[in-house]
């Protein structure tokens, strides 16, 4: 019996081992990348958050001192978190509503549909630095075309990127200009809604608003959820536009000029990623920069896990 049975498991085991090796070979680049560019620096960031380190002399363990500094003494942390909350509440929700609206519009347009779709999508592709530069010009309070037109209409002319009350709304306008990604995602979702449901609703005498409320919305709600959660994650990373707008508006720019402190004007555009840069690369306070990085990581992962839970059905699906 044993003699008869043994060849099969041995062959099977060989096959299994071969398959495992093959899988490992295919995954190898990413496994190395995961270890080197994700796991190692992440652990290292946590480690440095408990160290006093300026990047030059040897790191010294200081316990929770950096954490205490960031949470209770660093003047920008809570302000930056507040800005992020503002951006999540206003920018993300406006982007979702506007993206859905533009997506709906694009599915309804009969004439020139291709033209409109391209035009609505195009600004999303503009490189962020270039797009921010363009808006810094359009919205500059002195000679910008927007204030010129507002003045012509007899409307107030805000200071936009130079006014702490208007800098976040200006960044929001820039984000709405680049709505192309959400437009395409919503467009695809809207085209997937079964036509029969609209016809049935119409037979029941449902008007356009009721059809939207009781047919469209329930069908696309997973995509709306996806857009909200990825929007929050993107907002946690908000960096380039805020920094470039601040630099241009304050007039402090240049690779070799005086250092620019992010947040201009009056800290109204501070975000957590900019703090990592400012603390780590301008003030050489590696420990405190790592504290902000760890906090940024925790918040981002909390929202990512939300996304993973919502998507678990499709993740395991074959």
């Amino acid at each position: 019996m044993a003699l008869l049975r043994s060849p099969a498991p041995a062959a099977l085991r060989r096959k299994h081992r071969r398959e495992a090796l093959r899988t490992l070979a295919f995954l190898a680049p990413w496994l190395i990348g995961f270890g080197t560019f994700f796991a190692y620096p992440l652990l290292s960031t946590v480690y440095f958050s408990f160290m006093k380190y300026d990047g030059f002399t040897a790191p010294v363990f200081t316990g929770l001192k950096n954490w205490d500094y960031v949470l209770t003494k660093y003047p920008f942390f809570w302000q930056g978190l507040g800005n992020t909350l503002w951006l999540v509440l206003v920018m993300v929700s406006l982007r979702v509503v506007f993206g859905l609206g533009i997506g709906l519009l694009v599915t309804k347009v009969r004439t020139g549909a291709g033209f409109f779709r391209s035009v609505f999508y195009l600004p999303y592709l503009a490189p962020p630095v270039a797009a921010t530069m363009a808006f810094a010009f359009l919205l500059n309070p002195g000679t910008g075309p927007v204030n010129h037109l507002l003045g012509g209409l007899g409307l107030p002319r805000p200071g936009w990127f130079t006014d702490p009350d208007w800098s976040k709304p200006a960044l929001t306008m820039l984000a709405l200009w680049g709505i192309g990604d959400l437009m395409v995602i919503f467009m695809a979702a809207l085209l997937d809604v079964p036509r029969a449901q609209y016809e049935a609703a119409e037979l029941d005498g449902a008007g356009p608003w009721q059809r939207f409320r009781y047919v469209t919305l329930p069908n696309i709600s997973p995509i709306v959820m996806f857009a909200v959660v990825t929007g929050v994650i993107q907002t946690m990373q908000f960096y380039t536009q805020a920094m470039v707008a601040g630099k241009v508006a304050s007039g402090v720019i240049g690779g070799s000029g005086q250092p620019f402190e992010p947040g201009y004007p009056h800290g109204s555009t501070w975000t957590l990623p900019q703090m990592v840069y400012s603390l780590g690369f301008q003030r050489f306070d590696t420990g405190s920069a790592c504290v902000v990085a760890v906090i940024l990581f925790i918040i981002s992962m909390a929202f990512t896990s939300l996304l993973l839970r919502r998507k678990s059905a499709f993740l395991s699906g074959e």
Binding site: P29, F34, L105, P127, P128, V184, A188, S300
Partner: protein, 296 residues
């Protein structure tokens, strides 16, 4: 009489109904297209104003006039011949081309394994990919910078940005995996029956079928590198010879403080390649974006 009236009554009623329906359709056509035109203005006018300012004279660019009095096309040549501009251009191309090629080479096998191999920990691996995708680059930048500066002495170059792309890019892996999931297993089985190894199957069967997804990933990655500001700011800022267009554009504004015309010409020159590529590869893009959103 009664029969004729009974017969004739519905007819005008139906045509009246049809007229109402047609009028409604025309009205909704007009409404929808007016909205679309208004939206198109919102998306296009920034480009128009930027362009109009980019061809103004230096003096006129200081005013709030909207229309150029004279058309100074030479502004574009002035920007092009700014010291450094060509270097930034070359560096950006190198970063984007090398980054894209390495990303594709390293990400495709990983995506294939995640989509088509059965192994323990596959779902965990996929979760890890998505987590990496959502990770703000600032979280890991400090230890990474220390490694590149102290172990490899590569700060002041773009290599710290290019080399990691040889080890898989989470977003590209995810997008390719989503597409490879849609390839029916029968094709792979047939290839294996013909005696193809996994690598041969990937190259001969999967690669040709996955061309749209590969095109989308290549475009996204190219654009990611082209647009990247944070990476070059961290690693390349100390050496102007390694600056990219995104980073250089900012310093260009610094050097030409009040010259909005030149800054806007430079801005358009930075946008131009991306916009040109988009017009040639629109379909691949839009398919790519929809692949990243989930169905249902």
């Amino acid at each position: 009489m009664t029969t004729t009236s009974a017969l004739s009554v519905p007819l005008p009623a139906r045509s009246a109904q049809a007229r109402v329906a047609r009028r409604k359709a025309v009205l909704s056509w007009v409404g929808i297209h007016s909205l679309a035109i208004a939206a198109a203005l919102f998306f296009l006018l920034p480009f128009v104003f930027v362009f109009l300012t980019s061809v103004m004279s230096d003096r006129q660019a200081l005013t709030s006039q909207l229309w150029p009095a004279e058309w100074h096309w030479g502004n574009y040549a002035r920007v092009w011949h700014t010291p450094g501009f060509l270097t930034w251009w070359r560096n950006t191309l190198l970063y984007a081309a090398a980054g894209t090629a390495l990303t594709l080479l390293s990400s495709l096998p990983v995506a294939y394994a995640l989509a088509k191999f059965r192994f323990r920990g596959r779902n965990t691996a996929l979760m890890a990919v998505i987590s990496m995708m959502m990770l703000p680059p600032q979280v890991t930048v400090i230890p990474m910078y220390l490694v590149w500066a102290k172990q490899f002495h590569l700060t002041g170059t773009l290599w710290p940005l290019i080399i990691p792309m040889a080890f898989g890019d989470a977003f590209s892996i995810f997008l390719l995996r989503q597409f490879l999931m849609t390839i029916p297993g029968e094709y792979l089985e047939a290839a294996r029956m013909d005696g193809c190894g996994e690598l041969r199957t990937l190259l001969k069967v999967v690669l040709p079928m996955a061309r749209p997804a590969i095109a989308a990933v290549a475009l996204f990655q190219f654009f990611y590198c082209w647009n990247d500001y944070f990476g070059p700011q961290i690693y390349a800022s100390e050496n102007p010879g390694a600056w990219t267009l995104s980073y250089g554009l900012e310093s260009f504004k610094g050097a030409h403080h009040t010259d909005w015309n030149l800054t806007m010409a430079a801005t358009l020159l930075v946008m131009a390649p991306v916009i040109t590529i988009f017009f040639f590869a629109q379909k691949a893009f839009i398919e790519g974006v929809t692949l990243t959103g989930v169905k249902g």
